[in-house]
């Protein structure tokens, strides 16, 4: 009984402190019951559903999903192809070059995909070497010609007996050698 009066006094005190709160007016001050939050009318399934407030991860998850998709779009076919090549067409074995046989340039590679790339797309290394040598030869000839041209210029300018550096003189037939009327003609 004393405890009840103490409780009632405490409830009245809190009602005085915050009179606008819904359970604190005089009508239900004494008869109100404290809400029991542990005995709500739901079955104990996966716990009370909570709305967790956090920053959006939609854009991050969308990025990762798209990244995964575009990587696997070509990644999985490439992995399948490489696995099939390694299982069904194995790597080559190293043997001695037989006498009198000139291997094709792709037969110097071990893995079948390297051999295929060398056979289909690349030129033979011998051909590349020769192309480089041809380019060097052309550049060498160009450089030699330029040097000889400079030397020839020097000689012709100096000696004057070549076709270059000739200055055209006037046509002799244009000169009128007939006697003139006045001396200053």
């Amino acid at each position: 009984m004393v405890a009840m009066s103490l409780l009632r006094a405490a409830a009245a005190f809190t009602a005085r402190l915050s009179p606008l709160k819904s359970g604190n007016n005089a009508a239900n001050l004494l008869t109100r019951t404290l809400p029991r939050t542990d005995k709500v009318a739901v079955r104990w399934g996966h716990g009370k559903k909570m709305f967790v407030v956090k920053a959006t991860d939609f854009y991050d998850r969308r990025f990762l999903r798209l990244l995964q998709y575009y990587i696997l779009l070509t990644g999985i076919p490439v992995a399948v192809i490489v696995t099939c090549v390694n299982v069904f067409i194995g790597e080559a074995e190293l043997v001695e070059t037989p006498e009198g046989y000139e291997p094709e340039y792709w037969e110097y590679y071990k893995h079948p995909i390297s051999r295929w790339i060398a056979r289909t797309f690349y030129d033979s290394p011998v051909k590349d070497y020769e192309k480089m040598m041809a380019a060097i030869q052309i550049e060498k000839e160009k450089a030699d010609l330029r040097l000889t041209q400079l030397e020839v210029r020097r000689q012709m300018r100096q000696k004057g007996d070549g076709p270059w550096f000739q200055v055209e003189t006037l046509n002799k037939e244009l000169i009128d050698n007939s006697p003139k009327a006045t001396p200053d003609n």
Binding site: V87, G90, A92, E93, T97, P103, Y108, Y109, R115, K140
Partner: protein, 168 residues
């Protein structure tokens, strides 16, 4: 199966399997573990290898080792003969690669020897150690500080400097 490694260069240590002398009726745990390993790891892997080899047996292909002809060196080229320079440069580059691989093989042999001998490697691997020292010293002398843009000409100039230093 791919070719086995060179047994002369990498000798196997003598087997030290003791003679089995069972004196108890209790099972031998080492035997149990080895059998377990065999049936769980070794046998599946070997059968898989056998299966894959049978599949691959129809498409067996071979590859060869490419041998390059020797061409005149940089010292035997006429001055201004740029094609000769190019061929000598390519040959020098191939020789550089070959020398790098030689050094790697010698290193590998020394490493294997050290692993084999354990604590007493300095005494037992004296031959490998001497070979390694000689090879690396020569490699350093010839190709040492040429850098990333090394070329046949720079190597030749380094050789010239070495000869001049040796003469002086």
């Amino acid at each position: 199966m791919p070719a086995d490694f060179d047994k002369g260069a990498y000798p196997e240590p003598p087997r030290q399997t003791p003679v089995v002398d069972k004196q108890t009726a209790l099972p031998n745990p080492a035997l149990i573990l080895s059998k377990l390993f065999y049936y769980s790891v070794d046998l599946p892997v070997t059968t898989f290898r056998g299966v894959v080899d049978n599949i691959r047996a129809k498409n067996r292909s071979v590859y060869y080792h490419q041998k390059f002809r020797r061409v005149p060196d940089l010292t035997e080229c006429q001055e201004g003969d740029y094609t000769c320079y190019y061929e000598a440069e390519m040959q020098w580059r191939r020789d550089y690669k070959v020398d790098q691989e030689i050094v790697k093989v010698v290193q590998e042999r020394l490493r294997a020897c050290q692993q084999r001998e354990g604590g007493s490697y300095q005494q037992n691997c004296a031959k490998e150690i001497q070979q390694f020292n000689e090879t690396t010293r020569n490699f350093q002398l010839r190709y040492g500080d040429l850098g990333a843009y090394a070329s046949g000409r720079k190597c030749l100039m380094k050789q010239k400097e070495r000869m001049m230093a040796a003469q002086a």
